[in-house]
Amino acid sequence: MNLRAVGAIYKFEMARTWRTILQSIVSPVVSTSLYFVVFGAAIGSRISEVQGVSYGTFIVPGLVMLSVLTQSIANASFGIYFPKFIGTIYEILSAPISHFEIVLGYVGAAATKSIVLGLIILATAGLFVPLHIQHPVWMLTFLVLTAITFSLFGFIIGIWADGFEKLQMIPMLVVTPLTFLGGSFYSVNMLPPTWHTIALLNPVVYLISGFRWSFYEIADVRVEISVAMTLGFLVICMSIIWWIFKTGYRLKH
């Protein structure tokens, strides 16, 4: 294992974050705070409790997930897309480094960033509503698993994209709607039966449900199913990446 290479990529990616600290950390924190002001304080004060917790408290796990999901995808997709775009990928491809190590470096850095970001947002949320986390270990497990899974997903998008539009397209057209409809701001049990069934096709529902369970022990679906779905998505992403490297898809002519 070429750990030095993994470390070099990881460090390189993290250095990029420091250079873009404003857009990496500050802007998600600001937008989350805005959600709290709008949904938690303004609208939330008119909504009664959801499944036994105040509305402001209820939306915390969903908001953290929202940022972790979008930031994981954004970081990882940009991280691999950019070297491809400017051509510096030649060095990665010609280095004595395995595909697994390349993924470890890029995805590890992207996941680290979004985990840190998730924790910062959680801390920000603590400024607006009282936080209580029933299962901190599960909370961290869901956070880490989600960050890794969606960083892998972002990596795939970054390799697939051959232009900046495509880089933005999937996150905008697929991921954002799925997260908004995935129960960040409501429980899918509040939906009428037909919509409830449709909602269960949305993988994000399971992530947010499991994550919320680790906070308040309230869930839309059983927590085991949430774990299984998260792991399932992880495996799918890993298989796609394995295939990408095996065939050189969009990486090698």
Binding site: A5, I86, G87, Y90, E91, S94, A95, P96, I97, G248
Partner: protein
């Protein structure tokens, strides 16, 4: 001695259906400087890219240091440093950071003293903390060379390393290359400056339309090239070369105004003196004469002209 690079039966057909390499066989000896020449689009970069793992071959085998580039890619690639033709650099990294990054990527432990030496050799030391985006094109090219050297490769590919580098720095760059050769590094370079190949290379290969058309020791090549041509501009045009001058194998230009005589500068006798005497005897007078040495460039041009 086993070649450090051996390429056999290598072909590449791009997805577009275009075949840019066709059944290439090539061996590079350890420690030599090999110049790969060929017109634009001949396949030089494609060949280098395949050896370095950036492009997949369609068929054929490549081994570097005895390691197959696919089955044993780690061992093979660890030996190789690549300076690609295009300027692909980060923008906001410092020179020092990007060169150190390359060393790490190749799995080598930190060695600031080495990187310092490389940057100094390439006249980049005063730019070590500069962001790459603030460098000129020639400086960026040298940063890419520094990146390739940072992991102490045994085989160095230089794909048009001197394109866009000024004369003085080009000389400095060749000093670096000579030093590397002295340290036992094998160097494969492509260039469109034929004097460069003439000056630097031990062997020369010419590739045209995806096929190797010549691989030759430069010394041998230069010997073949050590011929000169004497051209005589006649005072009066002639229709044919007189019988008496047949032993000189002269060529007469179509318009009948010029005679040309090819001779070997390295031979004991060039035959020029007797030729001039015999010309006078034959009554042929000339108003001007010139001699011209054939060069690698002439050979090159005649090879790649179909």
């Amino acid at each position: 001695m086993a070649p450090v690079i051996s390429v056999s039966g290598l072909s590449k057909t791009y997805a577009s259906g275009f075949t840019s390499l066709n059944n290439i066989h090539l061996e590079i000896a350890r420690g030599e400087i090999f110049a790969l020449l060929g017109p634009n689009g001949a396949g030089k970069t494609t060949l280098i890219s395949i050896i370095c793992g950036i492009v997949n071959a369609s068929s054929g085998q490549v081994a570097v240091g005895g390691h197959d580039i696919n089955a044993d890619y780690r061992a093979a690639r660890a030996l190789i440093g690549l300076v690609p033709q295009e300027l692909h650099t980060d923008s906001f990294e410092s020179v020092w950071a990007t060169v150190s990054f390359s060393r790490g990527l190749f799995g080598k432990p930190k060695n600031p003293a080495l990187i310092e030496k490389i940057l100094k050799d390439l006249s980049l030391w005063d730019k070590k903390d500069a962001k790459i985006i603030t460098l000129s094109g020639g400086m960026k090219r040298r940063v890419m060379i520094a990146k390739a050297l940072s992991h102490e490769p045994q085989v160095l590919f230089l794909d048009e390393p001197t394109a866009g580098v000024d004369v003085e720095l080009r000389k400095g760059m060749w000093d670096v290359v000579r030093e590397l050769k002295a340290a036992g590094v094998t160097i494969i370079l492509t260039t469109h400056y034929i004097e460069e190949a003439e000056e630097m290379a031990d062997r020369v290969g010419v590739i045209n339309k995806g096929e190797i058309v010549l691989v030759e020791d430069k010394a041998k090549l230069m010997q073949k090239l050590g011929r000169k041509r004497l051209s005589l501009h006649l005072q009066q045009r002639i229709d044919a070369i007189p019988e008496a001058l047949a032993p000189y194998h002269l060529t007469l230009s179509e318009d009948g105004w010029r005679l040309a005589y090819d001779y070997d500068t390295k031979g004991d006798r060039t035959g020029i003196t007797s030729l001039l005497g015999d010309l006078r005897a034959a009554g042929i007078r000339f108003v001007d004469l010139e001699t011209k040495q054939s060069s690698l460039e002439d050979i090159f041009v005649s090879l790649v002209r179909q």
